[in-house]
């Protein structure tokens, strides 16, 4: 690898013609040809990169429509964790309360996903964030956080049923001390 990279840096070659063409976006179709339908099987969105450029380009679609779409998409993402809840709940119910490697791993995953989700809240919705959607996205994010918390709650419930939460008196027994009498008796029973 090192050798190949070094050789390419040593001899910079101009990219071939086809590659340059591939990377350059299609020129906008002239207005007069817009009524001509595309040939069957041809898709104008050939690569993701181009499509993004197309979506983002304000000139192709009206801004309000895209905002609605984005919001719809954002709601879908916000509710996505809630779809996992029933499945996770069944899995947790099935996995039993004993301390075994499987149940411990599942509980770990159950905690990992929502916590990660919570940390990534802003990044998850970054692509939907525009000036128009910003205000509405707050509510979406709140629902998303709530859903993640629900998942987390499921994890906490599971951990509790496994008896791992120090919620009972017995968990603090080691920190309680024996009650000492102030007087001491010595026995001479022989």
């Amino acid at each position: 690898m090192a050798s190949s990279s070094s050789s390419s840096s040593l001899h910079p070659e101009p990219p071939p013609e086809w590659l340059t063409r591939l990377h350059t976006p299609l020129p906008p179709r002239p207005a007069r040809t817009s009524h001509i339908p595309d040939p069957p099987g041809y898709s104008s969105k050939s690569t993701g990169k181009q499509r993004n450029q197309q979506v983002l380009s304000p000139s192709t679609r009206p801004a309000i429509e895209t905002d609605t779409l984005k919001l719809k998409k954002a709601w879908e993402i916000a509710f996505a964790p809630s779809k996992q809840i029933p499945m996770n709940a069944i899995m947790m119910y099935m996995s039993g309360n004993s301390l075994q490697i499987f149940s411990i791993m599942m509980v770990f995953m159950l905690f990992k996903a929502p916590i990660q989700g919570l940390l990534m809240t802003n990044t998850a919705f970054a692509k939907f964030e525009t000036d128009g959607t910003r205000a509405k996205l707050r509510g979406v994010k709140a629902v998303y956080v709530l859903m993640q918390l629900l998942l987390l709650g499921l994890g906490v419930w599971k951990v509790n049923t496994m008896g791992l939460l120090p919620t009972t008196r017995s968990d603090w027994l080691a920190w309680e001390s024996e009650r000492q009498p102030l007087e001491r008796a010595y026995f001479a029973f022989g």
């Binding site: 017995s170 080691a174 309680e176 001390s177 009650r179 102030l182 007087e183 010595y186 022989g190």
Partner: protein, 945 residues
């Protein structure tokens, strides 16, 4: 953190753990004892006429009849005769056997029994009600040999009126009976082939006794004639008659005159009394005259008279002429200026005498003066020989002798041709008190660390450097021992090599005859030292206190004795003035103050320090005292009328509690009622037993429980530890209870019946029983009783270092001569009654209550051993949390180690250190070989890509 790990491990362990066969003699030791053998009742005996092998038989002072293998000193069989005779200690006992016969006959009190000599099985037993057995003889008569090949037995019983019976050797049935109506003192019987001589003492008019010999026909028991020897001037007490020979070809009666100038000998059946003047050259007062004669019909009628003064001893051998019945002196054994012990042995017709002095052993025949064999003997100090039983083997011109001697130390040893073959510590059979002592508690280091703690930073540093420099002198020794240590640790099991973990402890055992022995549990229970501590026959020990290498023994007479633990040297003695009933040991005091308590329950001294003492008084009260005031008690506990206090126990001084509560299945906590000042007092009425739980500071009765229908003659024992107490007794069916039999009851004390509640005191960290009227509050008690198959005579609890390991209730079973350890979870009073446990109860480890508690074979700490007559059981923690040492004493001595929650902190037998080392070596070699190869491959990869 570690505590939890250990707790987790401990809880994972199975509840019970049996002793494995390969652990026997590694983890435990056992002295099967007989008691000190008595002189007249110890002999070698051939149990089979076809074999020359003989066993050593004895009927000991502890009334144990036993056969010992003379080769290794192991017990072949033994029987406790005291089991059948109530007044065993006070009366005479007899033991007789006929040569080459598989029968041995014993008598103790009014009980005569015949045993198989090879296996110790009982053939028959007879009880006589008209007084104790005075004498016992086997009849040497041709016609008496029955089909069972055992000889008939002649017994003499009675205190005032002598009754002579001839008992059938095979069945023990009476063949005839002769009653002596004359009112003479029954003394002894003697037999000859055709006649039986009944020797009685007839009180003369003024003083002394005349010897009366009544001759009976052996077949019918009819009196044929009688003779009276005028001996009233010589014989003032029955003890004045030195010897009545029996079962010899010509039985003799020997006595001396009062001045011990003349020896008088009468051949039984004749009227003639031979007088022989005693040759006493130095004129020193003769202390003891002893006659030794064979007890065999076919033997030569020779006997030996042994004289002993304070400084010297000599002996004379006499022959009896069978035809003229004249007694003549054959030869004299030289006078030596040391004590001698003589033993007689016979071989066919020949009679041999063995003389054991302090410096030599010699064997001679009764026929001639020639010494057949002589060996040097080196007598250790404190090894004075009391008596001996010998066996002589003559091969052409040389003699071999082996004899079993009883030494002053209570040891019974067998010497073969001058070399000691084995030693049995029979003094231990009279163990009355035992206590653990710490060998070396590292007091020196503690002292040094204290100095360091009190110095300035720089001074402490210098001190420490100096200390470590001083420690360097042990480095060479440590290095020298290192290879050996590594090797031994590789080769031996971890289980048998744990002395470094506090498993090597000393136990001081005090015996009834005033001896003190130290038993080392690290060396398979060997006796480290054995000293004479008191000149008494009934030594009663109240306490043994240890303090930095010394043990102080407090005796009942108020005297105390300090002993160096490692050497057994007596350091100081304090004579006693006031007899003490018990001793209070102020253990938390660094110097260990000991306060004696008088028989009326009053402490002997008052000390100006806080604390309370609880005592028992002779008139059946429990008294509470302040240490500051021994004039008047703070409280007094008197059981109701008709009850008397029989036992009082308290929690062991080392009784750590790992967890102060019991976690239930729903993770709530039942708090344990932990009070170090609890006293459990047993009061016994006519047919009831009441157990009172007292607070020892305030005298408040916290709890009491009554059992009715109790047989108070059966053992009633109790024990208290942690937050529970247990007791065992025998109950009959009463109006309220259907249970009949031995019972074991267990009660657990909790602060409150409600989980998560700490009772009336709440979260208070301490309380005062004196100033607070409500403190200590009454406990919430849960109890359960179990029917057990046999009685429990003593109870104890296993002790571990931190109390994390579950406890075992140690019980001694007198009926099966065993010690068992019942795991506490089995005795959980919260076991559900009449239903299966719920899920949360199962989680707690509770299982359904069953009223009958059968002793599981795995609980027997003694496995198949027979531990006779245990009088006490003590336990000690070790440095290993899993392991507790247990020691039981009485007639037998038994010590073992128990791991109630399995040995979770030591490597098991399955762990092979060699395998581990081999694996590491193989892996290291593999890495060394593979490393260059791997590197080469990596470089090649870089070049070739």
């Amino acid at each position: 953190m570690w505590l939890q790990v250990v707790l987790l491990l401990a809880s994972c362990a199975p509840l019970v753990l049996a002793i494995f066969a390969d652990e026997v003699n590694h983890v435990d030791f056992h002295y099967a004892l007989l008691g000190i053998p008595s002189a007249q009742r110890t002999f070698f005996h051939r149990p089979s006429s076809s074999s020359n092998a003989s066993l050593l038989y004895t009927l000991s002072e502890k009334s144990f009849l036993g056969a010992v293998n003379p080769k290794d000193g192991s017990i072949v069989w033994r029987q406790n005769l005291a089991r059948w005779s109530s007044d065993a200690a006070a009366v005479e006992s007899f033991l007789r056997a006929g040569d080459g016969e598989n029968t041995i006959v014993s008598a103790l009190g009014g009980c005569v029994s015949s045993w198989g000599a090879l296996d110790g099985k009982l053939s028959w037993m007879r009880h006589f009600s008209n007084g104790p057995v005075r004498d016992l003889e086997l009849l040497e008569h041709e016609s008496s040999i029955t089909n069972f090949n055992s000889r008939d037995v002649i017994t003499l019983t009675g205190d005032k009126t002598g009754i002579i019976r001839r008992l059938d050797g095979g069945s023990g049935s009476t063949k005839w009976e002769f009653q002596d109506e004359s009112g003479d003192l029954p003394f002894q019987v003697s037999t000859s082939p055709a006649e039986i001589f009944y020797v009685s003492l007839q009180p003369s008019l003024l003083k002394g006794y005349k010897i009366k010999v009544t001759v009976l026909d052996a077949r019918t028991g009819q009196q044929t004639k009688h003779q009276i020897l005028s001996s009233e001037n010589d014989i003032s007490t029955p003890e004045s008659v030195l010897f009545v020979g029996s079962n010899t070809a010509s039985p003799i009666i020997v006595w001396t005159d009062k001045g011990q100038k003349t020896l008088r000998i009468n051949v039984v059946g004749t009227k003639q009394v031979h007088s022989v003047s005693i040759e006493n050259e130095t004129g020193e007062e003769i202390r003891r005259v002893e006659v030794k004669a064979p007890r065999c019909l076919s033997c030569l009628p020779h006997f030996l008279v042994h004289y002993e003064t304070d400084s010297s001893s000599w002996a004379e051998v006499y022959h009896t002429d069978l035809h003229s019945l004249a007694v003549s002196k054959a030869y004299k054994l030289p006078r030596v200026s040391e004590k001698s012990v003589f033993a007689t042995s016979t071989r066919f017709a020949d009679v041999y005498f063995t003389r054991i002095t302090e410096s030599e052993i010699s064997v001679m025949s009764s026929a001639s003066k020639d010494v057949l064999g002589k060996w040097l003997r080196k007598q250790q100090a404190d090894a004075h020989v009391f008596h001996a039983a010998s066996e002589v083997v003559i091969k052409s011109d040389s003699a071999a002798v082996r004899f079993a001697t009883v030494l002053d130390s209570g040891d019974w040893e067998l010497v073969r041709n001058g070399a000691t073959e084995w030693t049995r510590h029979e003094a231990l059979a009279g163990a009355v008190f035992a206590s653990w002592v710490e060998m070396d508690g590292g007091e020196e280091l503690v002292h040094e660390l204290e100095i360091e703690g009190h110095e300035s930073l720089y001074g402490a540093y210098v001190h420490r450097v100096k200390r470590h420099t001083r420690d360097l002198q042990h480095l060479t020794r440590w290095l020298r021992e290192l290879p050996k240590r590594i090797f031994t640790s590789l080769l031996t099991d971890e289980v048998s090599n744990l002395d470094g973990f506090g498993l090597a402890k000393l136990i001081l055992v005090a015996t009834q005859n005033g001896r003190l022995l130290a038993i080392d549990t690290g060396k398979d229970g060997s006796v480290s030292w054995n000293i004479k501590a008191a000149e008494t026959d009934n030594w009663t020990i109240k306490a043994i206190a240890t303090n930095s290498g010394f043990a102080t023994i407090h005796a009942e007479d108020g005297s105390s004795l300090s002993v160096n633990i490692t050497t057994g040297r007596i350091i100081s003695r304090n004579p006693g003035t006031i007899r003490i009933k018990s001793v209070a040991m102020l253990t938390d005091e660094p110097s260990g103050i000991v306060i004696g308590v008088k028989y009326d329950g009053t402490p002997l001294q008052s000390i100006n320090r806080p604390g309370h003492i609880v005592t028992l008084s002779d008139d059946g009260r429990a008294l509470g005292w302040s240490i500051r005031n021994n004039k008047s008690p703070l409280w007094e506990f008197l059981p109701p009328r008709g009850q008397r206090i029989t036992q009082a126990t308290c929690r062991p001084s080392h009784d750590p509690v790992a967890s102060i509560g019991k976690v239930l299945g729903d993770r709530s906590v039942l708090y344990k009622y932990l009070n170090p000042n609890l006293a459990l007092i047993t009061a016994v009425g006519d047919n009831s037993a009441t157990f009172y739980l007292l607070d020892a500071v305030s005298g408040k009765v916290l709890h009491s429980t009554v059992q009715t229908g109790v047989d108070t003659k059966q053992p009633i024992t109790s024990v208290i530890s942690e937050n529970w107490f247990a007791y065992s007794l025998w109950t009959d069916v009463t109006a309220t209870s259907d249970a009949k039999g031995y019972q074991l009851s267990i009660s657990e004390l909790y602060e409150s019946s409600v989980p998560n509640d700490r009772g009336p005191l709440g979260s208070a960290n301490n309380y005062s029983s004196v100033y607070d009227l409500d403190a200590p509050p009454r406990p919430y008690v849960i109890s359960q009783s179990f029917m057990i198959p046999e009685s429990i005579s003593h109870m104890g609890v296993t002790q571990t270092r931190q109390g994390i390991t579950i406890r075992q209730l140690l019980c001694t079973l007198p009926a099966s001569n065993a010690v068992i350890g019942i795991p506490r979870p089995v005795l959980d009073p919260r076991r559900p009654v009449g239903r299966d446990p719920t899920a949360s109860e199962t989680e707690e480890g509770l299982f359904k209550y069953a009223p009958f508690l059968e002793f599981d074979g795995k609980w027997y700490l003694t496995h198949s051993r027979d531990i006779a007559d245990i009088q006490g059981i003590i336990s000690s923690p070790t440095l290993l949390e899993s392991t507790s040492l247990v020691f039981a004493f009485g007639v037998d001595i038994f010590g073992t180690r128990v791991t109630p929650s399995q040995a979770f902190d030591i490597l098991g037998r399955g762990f092979s250190k060699l395998q581990l080392l081999a694996t590491i070596t193989v892996l290291t070699v593999g890495v060394i070989i593979l490393q260059p190869m791997a590197r080469k491959k990596e470089v090649d990869l870089l070049w070739q890509s």
